[in-house]
C-alpha cells in the first residue's frame, strides 16, 4: 500500500489517559484508509483504553483524535457516524432477534430501511446466521453472539471498524468467518483496527502491526519492518514481539 497517497483514517496525537497510573502516555498513532492494522501488546499495555478513547467511550486527558478527517473530540457525533466498535465481550440484547437487533442499530445510525435491510440480509448470510435470524439471542452461544454483534457493527457500513479481541473464545469455523468478513471489508476500502493476543492472526491478516507497551507505541510497521527493528529477520512475530516488549521493560 502506498501510504503517501492514502487518506488517513485515524490519527492520534499525544493522546494520554491516566487512571490510578498512566494507561496511555502521549500516544501518537496513524492508520491509513483501507488498511488492516493490528494493535498488539501485553496485558495492561493500554490497547483497549486507546481504542475506547477513539470510539468515544472514554475521554482522553490530553491529545487529539481525528477520524476520517473529523475531530472526534469536538464533533463526536460525526465521528461516530463513520465508526463501528466491537468489544471482546459481545453485548447484545437477549430478548431481541438478530434481525431486530440490526434494525435497532440501523435506526441509531439513521440508515435508510431498504438499504439497512439489504445489508442485514447480506451480513446474516455471510455469517451463517440465517437459521437463527428470527430467534431471540438469549439462547445463543458466545460465537453466535459475537457474529450478531459483528453484523451490528457492519450494518451501517462504517469506514473505520475497531475491534477489541474479536476472535477470543471463538471456534475455528466462526473465527474464520469473522476473519473473512473483515478481509472483505478491507478489500471494499474499509479500515480495520484490531487488538489481538493471537499473534498469528496479526501476522497473517494485518498490513501493519503496532506494538504497544506501557501506554506507548514502541514499534510499528509491516512484519518485515518489525523484524528489522529487532534484528531477527527469520523470527516469528511472537519472537519479535517478546523481544520488543522485553527491550521496553529493560528501558523502563
Amino acid at each position: 500500500m502506498n501510504q503517501r497517497h492514502t487518506p488517513v483514517a485515524l490519527a492520534l496525537r499525544g493522546v494520554s489517559k491516566c487512571f490510578d497510573r498512566p494507561a496511555v502516555d502521549a500516544l501518537d498513532l496513524t492508520v491509513y484508509g483501507g488498511e488492516f492494522y493490528a494493535l498488539v501488546g501485553p496485558n495492561g499495555a493500554g490497547k483497549t483504553t486507546t481504542l475506547r478513547m477513539v470510539v468515544g467511550l472514554l475521554r482522553p486527558d490530553a491529545g487529539s483524535i481525528c477520524i476520517e478527517g473529523i475531530d472526534a473530540l469536538s464533533d463526536p457525533v460525526a465521528a461516530k457516524q463513520v465508526t463501528a466498535w466491537l468489544s471482546d465481550e459481545p453485548m447484545i440484547y437477549d430478548k431481541l432477534t438478530p434481525y431486530e437487533y440490526l434494525e435497532f442499530v440501523a435506526g441509531l445510525w439513521r440508515i435508510e430501511p431498504t438499504v439497512a435491510e439489504a445489508r442485514a440480509r447480506e451480513l446474516i448470510g455471510w455469517l451463517g446466521l440465517e437459521p437463527h435470524a428470527h430467534e431471540r439471542c438469549e439462547g445463543f452461544s458466545k460465537g453466535m453472539r459475537q457474529k450478531v454483534a459483528l453484523a451490528g457493527a457492519l450494518v451501517h457500513d462504517p469506514k473505520l471498524i475497531i475491534l477489541d479481541e474479536p476472535l477470543t473464545g471463538l471456534d475455528a469455523g466462526t473465527a474464520r468467518q469473522v476473519k473473512n468478513v473483515l478481509r472483505e471489508r478491507v478489500r471494499a476500502g474499509g479500515t480495520v483496527i484490531m487488538t489481538t493476543h493471537i499473534l498469528e492472526v496479526a501476522e497473517r491478516m494485518a498490513d501493519r502491526i503496532g506494538v504497544i507497551a506501557g501506554g506507548r507505541l514502541i514499534a510499528e510497521g509491516t512484519l518485515e519492518e518489525l523484524h528489522r527493528q529487532t534484528g531477527k529477520a527469520a523470527a516469528s512475530l511472537e519472537d519479535t514481539f517478546l523481544t520488543l516488549v522485553a527491550d521496553q521493560v529493560v528501558a523502563a
Partner: protein, 509 residues
C-alpha cells in the same frame, strides 16, 4: 466438625451462602456500607416498634380468645401475611430453579443430589421464616412487653406460616413444571406469585368497596356478613388465631402442622427439584422464535429506535412483567372505587388520587432504572452517532410514555366524573413519574437489566428519595383535588427532595 457432604455440612454451606447473599444485598457489596446498613436497620427496627405500639398496643391486655370479631381479624391478618409469604416463597423457589449457579458442581459431584436439594429447600424455608419473623417481631414484642409473655407464642405461628408458605410454593411450582414445562413455568410462576401476593389484599379491598365504599381491607373483615358466616369460635379453623393469643395447645398443633407440611414436601419433592432444576437450566439455551414473518425494517429516528427497544425489552421480560403486573393489580381496587364513586357521585376519589399517584411514582422508578441504568449493550448505544443528552431524553420518553399508557384510562374516567380532580390526578401522576425518573437519572449506574432485583440496594438514597417523593406527590395531589391550599406544603417537600437528590447525585449531567 461435621462430615463433608453430610446433611449438617451441606446446611452449613447453604447457611454461609445465604448469609453472604443477604449481607451483599444489604450493603450492595461494599464493606464501607456495612456500618451504614446496620444503623439503617436499627433505625428501621426502632421505627417499626413505634409504629407497632401505635397500631396494636391497645390490644395487649384484651382477652380476645372468645371474641369472634377478634378471631376473624387475626385470622384475616394471618391469611393476608400468608398470601404475601407464599408469593415471596414462590419467587424464591422459581429463582432457585432457574439460577444455574452451582448446579454443574452439585450434579457432577458424588454428593447425593436429593440431599443437596433437600437442604436447599430448607434454606428457602429458613429465609421465608426469617423474613416473616423479622417483620412480625415489632408487633409481637410490643404486645408481649405490654400484655405478657403469652404473646411470644405468635412467633411460633409466624414461623409455621413461613414453612407452610414454602411447602405450598414448592408444591405449586413443581405442579407448574409438570403441567406446563420448564420453559413456561418461569413466566407463569412469577405471574402466579404476583397474583397470589396481591389477590387477598385486592379481594378484601374490593369487598370493602362494595360493602362500605372504602379501600380499607379491615372493613370487609369486620362486616356483619363476615361475622355471621364465620365458623363457631370453638372450630379448629381458629387455631392459628388462638395460638397467636397464647393458647399453647393450638400453638403446638399449628407448629407441628407447619413442620410436618414442610418435611413432607421436602421428602416428596427433593428428587424432583433436581430434575426440574436441570430442565430449567436448559431453558436458557432453548430457542424462542419471534415473528415468523418478518415485516421488514421500518424507518425510525434514533430516538424512536431507542424507545421502541425499551418497550420491546420490557414486554419480553417475564420477571418485569410480573412485577409491573403486580403494581397494576394493586390499581384495580382504586379503579373499582372510582367506578363505584362515579355511580354514586360522591367525593371518594379523594382516596383514589393519592393511591394512583403513589403507584405511578413507584412504577416509574422501576421503569426508569431499567431504561436508564439497565442497559445491556451500553457500548453500542454510547458509540452511536447520537448525543448522550438525546439518548437520555429518548429513554425518559419511553418511561413517561409507558406510565401515560397505563394510567390514562383511570385519569380519563376521573375526568368524566370531575374534570378538576382528573386534571389534578393526571398532573400528579406526571409529576410523581417525572420526579422518580429524575432521581434514577441522578443516581444512574451501569448495570444489566437482570440486576433489577438489586436496584434498591445499589443506592439507598435513591430508594428512599423515590419513596418519599411519591408520597409527597400523592399528598399534594390529594390535597389539591380537595381544593386545600395546604397542598403547597407537600409540593414544597417534593421539590425539596429533588433538590437534595440533585445536590447528592454522584453522576454529572
Amino acid at each position: 466438625m461435621s462430615q463433608p457432604a453430610s446433611l449438617t455440612w451441606l446446611a452449613g454451606h447453604e447457611f454461609r451462602l445465604g448469609w453472604r447473599d443477604w449481607v451483599a444485598l444489604m450493603t450492595a457489596g461494599g464493606r464501607a456500607r456495612a456500618r451504614n446498613a446496620a444503623i439503617a436497620l436499627i433505625a428501621f427496627a426502632a421505627f417499626m416498634h413505634v409504629f407497632a405500639y401505635w397500631t396494636v398496643a391497645r390490644f395487649a391486655d384484651a382477652n380476645l380468645a372468645s371474641d369472634a370479631a377478634a378471631l376473624v381479624g387475626i385470622t384475616g391478618t394471618l391469611l393476608l401475611s400468608l398470601s404475601l409469604l407464599l408469593s415471596q416463597a414462590m419467587e424464591s423457589v422459581t429463582r432457585a430453579f432457574y439460577a444455574r449457579s452451582d448446579l454443574d458442581l452439585i450434579l457432577s459431584s458424588p454428593a447425593s443430589a436429593p440431599r443437596v436439594f433437600a437442604v436447599r429447600m430448607g434454606r428457602i424455608a429458613a429465609a421465608a421464616v426469617a423474613v416473616a419473623v423479622l417483620l412480625a417481631s415489632p408487633f409481637i414484642n410490643v404486645l408481649a412487653v405490654l400484655g405478657g409473655a403469652r404473646w411470644f407464642a405468635a412467633y411460633g405461628v409466624v414461623a409455621a406460616m413461613g414453612t407452610v408458605a414454602t411447602a405450598a410454593a414448592l408444591a405449586l411450582t413443581i405442579v407448574l413444571f409438570r403441567t406446563i414445562g420448564a420453559k413456561r413455568t418461569r413466566l407463569i410462576a412469577q405471574v402466579v406469585a404476583a397474583v397470589i401476593g396481591a389477590a387477598f389484599v385486592i379481594g378484601l379491598q374490593i369487598a370493602a368497596i362494595f360493602s362500605a365504599g372504602s379501600l380499607s381491607r379491615y372493613v370487609a373483615l369486620q362486616s356483619e356478613w363476615m361475622l355471621a358466616h364465620a365458623p363457631d369460635t370453638s372450630s379448629a379453623f381458629w387455631w392459628p388465631a388462638r395460638a397467636v393469643l397464647g393458647d399453647y395447645a393450638a400453638l403446638a398443633a399449628v407448629v407441628a402442622f407447619g413442620i410436618g407440611t414442610l418435611a413432607l414436601s421436602i421428602a416428596l419433592f427433593s428428587r424432583r427439584f433436581g430434575e426440574h432444576a436441570v430442565a430449567a437450566a436448559g431453558v436458557s439455551s432453548t430457542i424462542v422464535r419471534q415473528r415468523r414473518w418478518f415485516l421488514g425494517f421500518r424507518r425510525r429516528s434514533p430516538s424512536r429506535a431507542l424507545r421502541q427497544k425499551e418497550w420491546t425489552l420490557l414486554l419480553r421480560d417475564p420477571w418485569l412483567i410480573s412485577q409491573t403486573l403486580m403494581q397494576i393489580l394493586y390499581l384495580l381496587p382504586p379503579a373499582l372505587l372510582l367506578w363505584v364513586t362515579f355511580q354514586k357521585s360522591n367525593d371518594s376519589y379523594l382516596v383514589l388520587i393519592p393511591v394512583v399517584v403513589m403507584a405511578a411514582g413507584q412504577l416509574a422508578g422501576g421503569l426508569a432504572w431499567l431504561s436508564i441504568s439497565g442497559e445491556d449493550a451500553p457500548d453500542l448505544v454510547a458509540t452511536a452517532p447520537i448525543t448522550a443528552r438525546r439518548i437520555l431524553a429518548a429513554k425518559i420518553e419511553a418511561v413517561i410514555g409507558m406510565i401515560a399508557l397505563i394510567f390514562a384510562p383511570i385519569v380519563g374516567v376521573l375526568v368524566l366524573d370531575e374534570v378538576f380532580a382528573g386534571f389534578v390526578c393526571g398532573l400528579g401522576i406526571l409529576s410523581a413519574a417525572a420526579a422518580a425518573t429524575m432521581i434514577q437519572l441522578c443516581f444512574r449506574v451501569q448495570a444489566r437489566r437482570s440486576q433489577f432485583r438489586r436496584r434498591q440496594t445499589s443506592s439507598r438514597i435513591a430508594t428512599f428519595a423515590e419513596a418519599f417523593s411519591s408520597i409527597a406527590w400523592a399528598s399534594t395531589s390529594a390535597l389539591a383535588a380537595a381544593g386545600a391550599w395546604h397542598a403547597l406544603g407537600p409540593a414544597v417537600i417534593a421539590f425539596g427532595i429533588l433538590g437534595g437528590v440533585w445536590l447528592m447525585r454522584p453522576s454529572r449531567f
